[in-house]
């Protein structure tokens, strides 16, 4: 339990009922609080998906601190190095030379030869207007056997055009170069977590005579490069849109968006469109649909009207997910979210109309530091931040949709809800681990 220091703060009007919330930004911007829930991935975790690659961050000490310990906690220090920017590098304007020499020194020191190197630059580079092309040209000249790509840790620029997460997803596939296309290969791109292998998508892809590939399953750099053979890139994570478009332009791979929705008709619709795209008849998913429905019903029988809290880190489409729960009788009392995706508008309006009193809470407003629940009431949380703020040990420990898509995804989530409701988890340990699904020494 949190120990109080100092005077009681005023916490009025931090949380809002749905009826008073505006879309897509329910809360105004200001100072930000960072909750201890850490399961979402960062750029280090994502970059490590490229097999046999090495990461080199060129940043200030304070910025390096978070990334080096991300690598250390995922037992990947052997694939990480850094070059620290100091005051003199900012003042002397020798960034290009400094980077080239620093990266060269790192690569000479390594006990292995990486196939690819991800060079991460920071906000400082943008303010210094350094010559990136020159740096990479020289690095490629010095190390012709290594593929280099530029990656970005630029939180200051998060509101200017592409966000760092969007850029990371583009750069993740930037080392792919054109290859002869094969109809029997289809990629699913842009997700940190691999899709569950029992998902219906596999049946659709198989019916089209193809195999589904993800970067998450590539064991070697060559397998990664072979992703360029796919004729089609599927993506269901909204952040991957620009990556899909980049691949379309560079490699001629077609892009197909599968919205991460939880309504039966919308899932069917997405599958129908994909089947059409692949030129096949949509397989019959009656059984999968029935299983999902049954699992939800069984979960409701166990959970009943226990209050449920959901947070935005659980899934890309939180409002679609909450709507699905509400339509199946669950009592969703609170949503933790700082922002909604534009494509969630229809679900937002539906919830607002039917559940105007549902509470919407921010996760990063400063007052939230003091709004960690301490009550004894049993709450089921779905997502780590919801677990933290509601103070419950009964929670579904999944982030970023967990690779749980379609009817199969609903089936698995319903089962996880049931299991979470019946068995406590070690909240403090689990939610503080970085990069859900990655190796962790914490």
């Amino acid at each position: 339990m949190l120990r109080r220091i100092g005077e009681e703060p005023s916490l009025k009007e931090t949380k809002k009922p749905m009826k008073e919330v505006s879309f897509p930004a329910p809360f105004k911007e200001g100072l930000e609080f960072s909750s201890p829930a850490r399961g979402t991935w960062n750029i280090v975790h994502t970059g490590m998906l490229i097999p046999q690659s090495h990461q080199i961050f060129v940043c200030a000490q304070g910025c390096l601190r978070g990334v080096v310990l991300t690598a250390a906690e995922m037992n990947a220090m052997g694939r990480y190095s850094s070059v620290a920017i100091r005051e003199e590098n900012v003042l002397e304007g020798n960034m290009e030379e400094f980077m080239i020499d620093g990266i060269t020194d790192v690569l000479k020191k390594l006990s292995y030869k990486p196939k690819a190197v991800l060079v991460f630059i920071s906000c400082q580079h943008f303010f210094l207007a350094y010559d990136q092309d020159m740096v990479f040209r020289e690095l490629r000249k010095r190390f012709p056997d290594i593929s280099f790509t530029d990656c970005y840790m630029i939180p200051t620029l998060r509101k200017s055009g592409l966000t760092p997460d969007q850029k990371m997803r583009i750069q993740l596939y930037s080392l792919l170069s054109p290859k002869e296309k094969r109809k029997d290969k289809i990629n699913l791109i842009g997700s940190n977590l691999p899709i569950s292998k029992s998902c219906e998508l596999f049946r659709i892809v198989k019916a089209a005579g193809a195999n589904l590939q993800m970067i998450n399953w590539c064991k070697t750099y060559e397998e990664y490069l072979d992703m360029a053979q796919a004729s089609l890139n599927l993506y269901y994570e909204p952040l991957a849109k620009m990556a899909a478009e980049d691949l379309k332009q560079r490699l001629g791979q077609e892009a197909f968006y599968l919205p991460f929705v939880y309504q039966e008709d919308r899932i069917e619709n997405a599958y129908e469109k994909l089947s059409q795209k692949l030129g096949i008849q949509k397989p019959d998913f009656k059984e999968e649909k029935a299983s999902a429905k049954k699992a939800l019903k069984e979960a409701y029988q166990v959970i009943g009207n226990t209050p449920i809290a959901v947070d935005y880190t659980f899934t890309f489409r939180i409002l679609s997910f909450v709507r699905m729960l509400l339509e199946h009788g669950f009592f969703v009392r609170e949503i933790f979210a700082d922002m909604f995706l534009p494509e969630e508008k229809e679900d937002f309006l539906w919830i607002k109309e039917h559940y105007p009193e549902m509470v919407i809470s921010p996760t990063s407003r400063p007052q939230m530091r003091f709004l960690v629940e301490k009550s004894e009431e049993k709450v089921l949380a779905i997502g780590q931040k919801a677990a933290y703020f509601t103070g419950t040990d009964y929670f579904v420990n999944v982030v970023e949709s967990g690779g749980l898509y379609g009817f199969d995804g609903i089936f698995q989530i319903a089962n996880q809800m049931k299991e979470a409701f019946c068995h406590k988890k070690d909240r403090k340990i689990l939610i503080q681990r970085k990069g859900y699904g990655c190796e962790s020494c914490i």
Partner: protein
């Protein structure tokens, strides 16, 4: 090459040193940076984050605010939050981007103080220096703004502890052990900068007769309090039994003479082994540990200090090794290496490596394995595991 870490971790930076030093004092600390620094600090450098409330926030500066030099937004956001949170003070902390665009945090703090009536100060960190300089800036601000010169000296012998943060001492009970040790040598703990003492207690630091400096981050305020409050300081951590006894002796001597001293320059080494050990770490703690090992085990120790320090703290054989390459060179020929586990890749093959976790280097990874070595035989603690 300078500034390259091919194999090892990176120490915590000045921004986070400030946050750590001010954490328990009831103030509102605002890092003026984009989002990211806040989670880095609270995840890796702040073991109190989950269980102890503290108002550490980030301004979440964006590119346009930086380019346009929009200080008004920062001022507005800080005032708005301060009015709700009622902090005892407000500290604005610099970071790389404010440093590059020349944000005047001291002036902004003055505006905020005038508007809110809450003591406010700007601390010019830039994320490009080590955590010890941040601790130093933070403690300096506390002494300047809150410590009263006119307090009466305590009738009992009071010792202030200077330099306590989890970055150097974790939450393994070391600071409580130092308090207990002070009691056992017949003295009282005055203020502890800054774990386990309130801002009010710190404001009365002038009551003490002597300061005990346990981290280099507190060196500046020790000198300031010597000059302004006439309090001598003793630099050393009472690790082990023999070195603790030396620290005790120095404290008592400084009480009598009013002169400051560095304990690691005072003990007599009793070298009985041909082995050579290297200790990598913060200078005050590492030299204290070296003192205990040389007296207790007779093994010659060389301190390799990758962090800010000064000559008076290091002994003649010790070295400042700010770069990975310096360390690799200095470790050649060593038989024993005592260091944070994330230094292990630099350990020569023939040397024995004794891991000694340091939160300022490896964050929370080895947090539960850091032994409390204060005033006890190392064997009692299970040794250096």
């Amino acid at each position: 090459m300078k500034q390259v870490a091919g194999l090892i971790s990176t120490y915590s930076s000045d921004e986070f040193g400030i946050c750590s030093a001010l954490y328990e004092l009831g103030g509102m600390v605002v890092m003026h940076d984009a989002s990211g620094c806040n989670s880095t600090y609270t995840t890796h450098d702040e073991p109190r984050w989950y269980d102890m409330e503290s108002m550490i926030y980030i301004s979440a500066i964006s590119e346009m605010e930086a380019i346009m030099g929009d200080d008004d937004k920062l001022i507005h956001d800080v005032i708005e939050t301060a009015q709700q949170m009622k902090p005892k003070f407000i500290a604005l902390v610099g970071a790389p981007i404010p440093y590059m665009i020349g944000t005047d945090l001291k002036a902004i703090a003055a505006v905020i103080e005038e508007e809110t009536g809450i003591p406010s100060f700007g601390l010019e960190a830039n994320g490009m220096n080590g955590y010890l300089s941040g601790i130093s800036m933070a403690f300096d601000a506390i002494v300047d703004r809150f410590c009263k010169k006119e307090v009466l000296k305590s009738t009992q012998t009071k010792v202030n502890i200077l330099g306590a943060t989890p970055l150097d001492f974790s939450l393994n009970g070391s600071i409580d052990s130092i308090r207990r040790w002070i009691k056992n040598i017949g003295m009282q703990t005055g203020a502890c900068f800054a774990m386990g003492s309130s801002l009010e207690e710190l404001s009365k630091a002038g009551k003490a007769q002597v300061n005990l400096v346990i981290s280099y981050g507190a060196m500046e305020i020790a000198k300031k309090m010597e000059e302004e409050f006439d309090i001598p300081y003793v630099v050393g951590v009472p690790v082990g039994k023999l070195f603790a006894a030396t620290v005790e002796h120095c404290l008592k001597e400084s009480l009598e003479t009013g002169k400051s001293q560095v304990v690691c320059q005072k003990y007599k080494a009793d070298i009985r082994s041909e082995k050579k050990a290297a200790i990598i770490g913060e200078s005050v703690y590492a030299t204290s540990l070296a003192g205990e090992i040389e007296q207790q085990y007779g093994i010659s120790c060389e301190v390799l200090c990758p962090l800010e320090t000064e000559e008076m703290i290091l002994r003649s054989m010790d070295k400042q090794t700010p770069e990975e390459d310096d360390l690799m060179e200095a470790l050649e020929g060593m038989d024993i290496v005592i260091a944070d586990p994330l230094y292990k890749p630099l350990c020569p093959k023939k040397a024995s490596f004794y891991p000694l976790g340091h939160i300022a280097f490896s964050g929370r990874i080895y947090e539960n394995k850091i032994p409390d070595l204060i005033d006890r035989e190392f064997e009692e603690t299970g040794g250096l595991r």
